[in-house]
Amino acid sequence: MEGQQPVLIFTTEKDGNFFVYVQKPKLSSLHKYKLEQQKSAKPLCFTAHITNQTVTLLCLYSNDSVYQVLIPLQQDTEEEKKVKEEILSKSLLLKLSVSGAVLKGTSLVVVDKDHVAVLGSLAASGNKPKEYLTVWNTKFQTLQTSKELPLGTSGQLWCYEEKFFLFHGRVLTVILYKCETSSLAAAVGKLKDSQTLDVSSFVNWNTLEDEEQVVSFQSQQSVALKGESRMNLRSRRSTVAEQSGTLSVGQLLLKLKNASTYVLETELRQLMAKAPTPDLQATIGCVVTALIDRCKRNPKYYPQTFLQEIVETRNLSYSLCPDLMAVALEKKDMHLLQICLERFPDIPEEITYACLKAFLSMSEEYLKSIDVNLDSAICYVDVEYDDMGFKTETLENGFSAEMEQDMCDTKIPTESRSDGESCPVGLRKAALLNAVLHSAYTETFLLPHLKNLPPQQAVLFLRYLYYLYVKCSEKVNTTLPGVRSPTINQIMDWMCLLLDAQFTVMAMLPEAKDLVSNLHRFVRAQVRFYSELNKMEGSLRELQRLNLLRESQTYSIEVLEII
């Protein structure tokens, strides 16, 4: 990433030959190099860094040595493109051996210009090999420090901003490490300094239960970072990271106002990772607001995945970023809206209504092209009906006209029954509507908005609610399968609310007539059923009372005749 220009380096193997490719995606140029062959040894691991227009490629070979390959970053010219492949010569940088014992390296990372870290197992003669993380000084060819990893590792090692990440046993271990500027005194061990590999924090996968813990872990990490003294700067990225630590959030956002999209997102990501705990939420709020402002200014700009990521991983609320949902509505970002509805505790009823309307008006064809979380609906919406799409005609759901009597549930003709069982909306729409059903609302505030719902959409929504109700009633415990699926109470509340808001329309609309009269019959049957039960309860109570009166006597003398 020298000079705002990303460079991609990758290696391939073919018939024992190793090739290195250097690609600059921005300039769409690709260079292919062949690596000088080495007898009886193969490269195991590569790592690279760029300094002064030169790629320094370090290779860990199976003969326990690290080789250095220098690749100049060329300017693209026509002639060079014709050169088929250059052979790269390598030079021995380091032999991984300490007083006779050889370190069998498995992975290699660059710490700074004079230090590399190698993860591998040290096989001392006669003993069982033990796994070590080692840091080597390339200038003086010495082992700087090492740490034993008795529980074993996966052989993989990552380094990111003076932190080593590796699997140690069952946990992901993070080791903070800082190299002093290389000096001979340090290399031969004269200089006693603070560099240790002892500071290690780790993530136990077993405890990673919810986001809060992850967040706290991250903040912990950032606090630990702050405690470190100035570190050697290796790349431009860490320079910025340093700065953002000193700049206030507002200043930074101001500074980034006109930065390029890519830079902006990178900076914001870092900012979020480093934000101090007390005002973490506020900072993220600011970040989202900054993004939204940018979206508003630049209609072409819409960082969909980044926003989704933020909403999904942070405990945001509507009030922290009031414009987010409005923009998402404008951009028809259904997935983001779904996530917001599921997660925000304080969405105004107006926005909830706007989402509902948007979801209902969306065509199934359009929905098919977008990605939404289907978990809440997939378990009960029949996929085969999904293909049919939703029907604008609502007549087939009704009951035959002669079904005037109250026995609504028992004598449904099989034909209309099967229609009642098919979902009136597609799978994606159902999932989106479920998100609306899940959101918090106050009836008084939602009702006026619901009155504005176009009749066709209201009928469709009611049919969907009725379908959910039927599905619920099929189960003994009246719950729908799946995660975040609506509960029976939510369904009933919304149904009542919708009928309250749209009753006159429903009564007038011919396509709603069957549905409404159906519901009416059902409610009437329920009322009768309950009144019967209450009557029964009354008489049972009376019987019990009589019985108790007789039984409550604790003593009596009775006559018993036994024949």
């Binding site: 077993n206 604790t554 003398i557 009775e558 006559v559 005749e561 036994i562």
Partner: protein, 686 residues
């Protein structure tokens, strides 16, 4: 036959304690049960689920967990922090061994019964070795924060799984280290409630089955730490869980009183892939089901409503037998009431006190079914609290009503009752017999001049009662061949000549009290004796067994009577044999030698030996039919069993004089109202 004046007593305020835990004897026929008051009971499946042994509780000894180890040894542990071995022959609790980890919430024995693991309040799991003289601390396993509420061994004894609040962990027994810790509450969104793992089981496949307070039964792959299946069985907490020996069926109990069965069934008919499916639900209990057990043929559950329910699995029952019917037990299979016939007093035994009542009286007579006006109300004479924390083993009042005795685990108390006019006073007999306690049964002779004390190792002590208030040890009767078990039932003859005693090995010994010699042994019958009595005129010993068989043994002739042989050869009526509860008391009508009165929890029966036995085609309970027939037509319908089911549940029945009965009932509703409120459940319309 005749009319009786029945004193119908419902003021015995017995509240049976809730069932806390159950333990099926592995590969055995016994079920151990502990109640919330610390009482431990042993039921014998082979003897029609007879409540064979009862070890009364102790205030300081709560039992949270019971387990069988080393074959037939029973251990209990509780919140007192001790592990106690129960002496099932001597019906007592041995001295406890301190668990060393605070209150003990759970205890399980390993597959071979050689080790016990306990889960403690302080989060530790400790292993104890079962040795000949008791148990011995072996070592501590990895300790983590959070009380260990439930434990389960892997069938191969290599791992233990321990359930706590919000998580459970798997411990490698060899290294003692926790090898896996799994949170159980992460699926419940935003749940700030804690999720209590109430019960857990580790199957041989490595699957961990957990039951939690969110009403879920979950199946985990502990090696991966992943949830394989989650079954939301109930909206209320799942409190208990038991797995069948074949590991194809699980029973769980919930706080709403429902029990559920889950079965491992093929997903497709004939397919190999299997899945746990909730198959059956039963609502037998009104309160928390704190304990469940899974016998090879039945689901067993015990609730805080004091019920023990045995629900047979019909697919596992081969033939129609006693085991094939649902059984519910609430009341003990022994007498808690004794009656002073002459003085018309009733003595009620509670766990820590006794109540003495005087019956009322009437001067009227009436027809069948009439309630007579009372001229004197029943009177609560006194309440006698037992001293100390121990619960009462047994109690008795003499027929004349002047002597009263009770025994706890460590003391035998004897009192003199003085009735002067309206007042009643007690005086303690100063030189109360010093014996090796406890006494398992106290029985006064018919003339109220001697006291028989059933004791350990088959011994019966005989005391002479002296006026005005003293007693003297006369003799100790022992079976000639020796016996390791305690005597639990006694029956003296009315003429003071004979005494029959039944010990825990079900042998019935008859002693001659004139010369204090062993007279004979009743030929052994391999079933528990639930009641016995000696006829006052013929000196025939009538024995009721828990498998509902009846026999009559002539003491003077040392052989079964002709009537008894006739009964045996003909067989008792099918309905009689299929009854639920055992006969708990037998008495006789002195005016009619052919009559034997018996009762169990649900019926009262007058057995008229002079009438023919009913055959299987006849209606056993025919009283209501008979009452509709004219006098002349009755003759053909009469048979020996005259059964009355009017009084239920019946705890005691005795004949006061020739046509006066006393029955003690305890209506279920009466004691249910004294239980704590169960989990509120929404009923229709409310």
């Amino acid at each position: 036959m005749g009319e009786f004046q029945v004193h119908r007593v419902r003021f015995f305020g017995l509240v049976p304690a809730g069932v806390r835990c159950l333990a099926c004897q592995p590969r055995g026929t016994r079920l151990a049960l502990a109640r919330t008051d610390g009482t431990v009971e042993v039921y014998n499946f082979a003897a029609n689920y007879f409540q064979e042994k009862v070890i009364p509780g102790h205030e300081a000894r709560s039992v949270e967990s019971l387990c069988w180890a080393a074959g037939a040894r029973l251990f209990g542990a509780g919140l007192g922090g001790d592990i106690t071995e129960y002496d099932l022959a001597g019906l007592s609790a041995a001295r406890g061994v301190d668990g060393g980890g605070g209150p003990v919430w759970s205890m399980v024995a390993n597959g071979t019964g050689t080790q016990l693991a306990i889960g403690c309040e302080d989060g530790s799991v400790k292993i104890f070795q079962v040795v000949a003289e008791g148990i011995q601390f072996e070592r501590n396993l990895d300790r983590r924060k959070g009380r260990v509420l439930c434990l389960s061994w892997h069938p191969s004894d290599t791992h233990i799984v321990a359930g706590s609040i919000d998580f459970f962990r798997v411990i490698d027994v060899a290294s003692g280290q926790t090898v896996q810790r799994i949170m159980v509450n992460h699926q419940v969104e935003k749940a700030k409630r804690e999720c209590v793992v109430w019960a857990i089981a580790l199957l041989s496949s490595g699957t961990v089955v957990s039951a939690d307070s969110f009403g879920r039964v979950q199946f985990w792959d502990w090696q991966q730490g992943t949830l394989a299946e989650s079954c939301a069985v109930s909206t209320s907490a799942v409190l208990s869980l038991a797995v069948s020996e074949k590991e194809d069926s699980i029973v769980v109990g919930t706080s709403s009183g429902a029990t559920y069965q889950l079965q491992l069934l093929p997903v497709r008919l004939g397919g190999l892939e299997k899945q746990w499916v909730r198959t059956k639900v039963f609502q037998f209990h009104s309160h928390d089901v704190r304990a469940v057990a899974h016998s090879p043929t039945a689901l067993i559950s015990g609730g805080l409503d004091a019920q023990l329910v045995i629900r047979p699995l019909m697919e596992k029952v081969q033939k129609k037998s006693y085991d094939a019917v649902l059984r519910k037990f609430i009341f003990p299979h022994r007498r808690l009431v004794s009656c002073a016939r002459k003085a018309r007093l009733l003595l009620f035994q509670f766990s820590q006190y006794l109540e003495l009542w005087r019956l009322g009286s009437t001067e009227e007579t009436g027809k069948d079914g009439e309630v007579l006006p009372l001229c004197q109300m029943p009177e609560h004479l006194l309440q006698l609290k037992s001293k100390g924390p121990e619960h009462i083993y047994c109690s008795s009042i003499s027929p004349c009503g002047t002597w009263l005795g009770y025994s706890t685990a460590s003391r035998l108390q004897l009192y003199r009752v003085h009735c002067d006019g309206d007042g009643v006073s007690l005086s303690k007999v100063p030189k109360a017999p010093k014996l090796l306690p406890p006494a398992y049964q106290l029985q006064f002779s018919a003339a109220s001049d001697s006291l028989f004390v059933a004791s350990a190792r088959g011994a019966v002590h005989v005391f002479q009662l002296q006026e005005p208030g003293g007693c003297k040890h006369l003799h100790t009767l022992r079976p000639p061949s020796g016996c390791s078990e305690a005597v639990y039932l006694l029956a003296p003859s009315a003429d003071g000549h004979w005494l029959a005693a039944v010990s825990g090995d079900w042998a019935i010994h008859v002693y001659n009290l004139k010369c204090f010699k062993h007279h004979c042994v009743v030929p052994s019958y391999d079933c528990a004796v639930s009641a016995l009595a000696i006829h006052p005129i013929t000196n025939n010993l009538v024995i009721a067994y828990s498998d509902q068989q009846l026999s009559e043994f002539s003491i003077p002739e040392k052989q079964y009577t002709g009537w008894s042989r006739a009964v045996q050869s003909r067989g008792l009526h099918r309905v009689w044999l299929e009854r639920d509860s055992p006969i708990t008391h037998i008495t006789f009508n002195p005016k009619n030698a052919a009559h034997i009165l018996l009762h169990d929890t649900f019926l009262l029966c007058v057995l008229d030996k002079s009438l023919p036995l009913p055959d299987d085609g006849a209606i056993l309970m025919n009283q209501s039919t008979l009452k509709q027939l004219p006098e002349t037509a009755r003759k053909r319908q009469l048979h020996a069993f005259k059964i009355c089911k009017k009084f239920q549940p019946l705890l005691f029945m005795d004949l006061l004089d020739k046509n006066c009965l006393v029955v003690v009932e305890r209506p279920i509703m009466d004691f249910k109202t004294q239980l704590p409120q169960p989990v509120q459940q929404k009923k229709f319309g409310t």
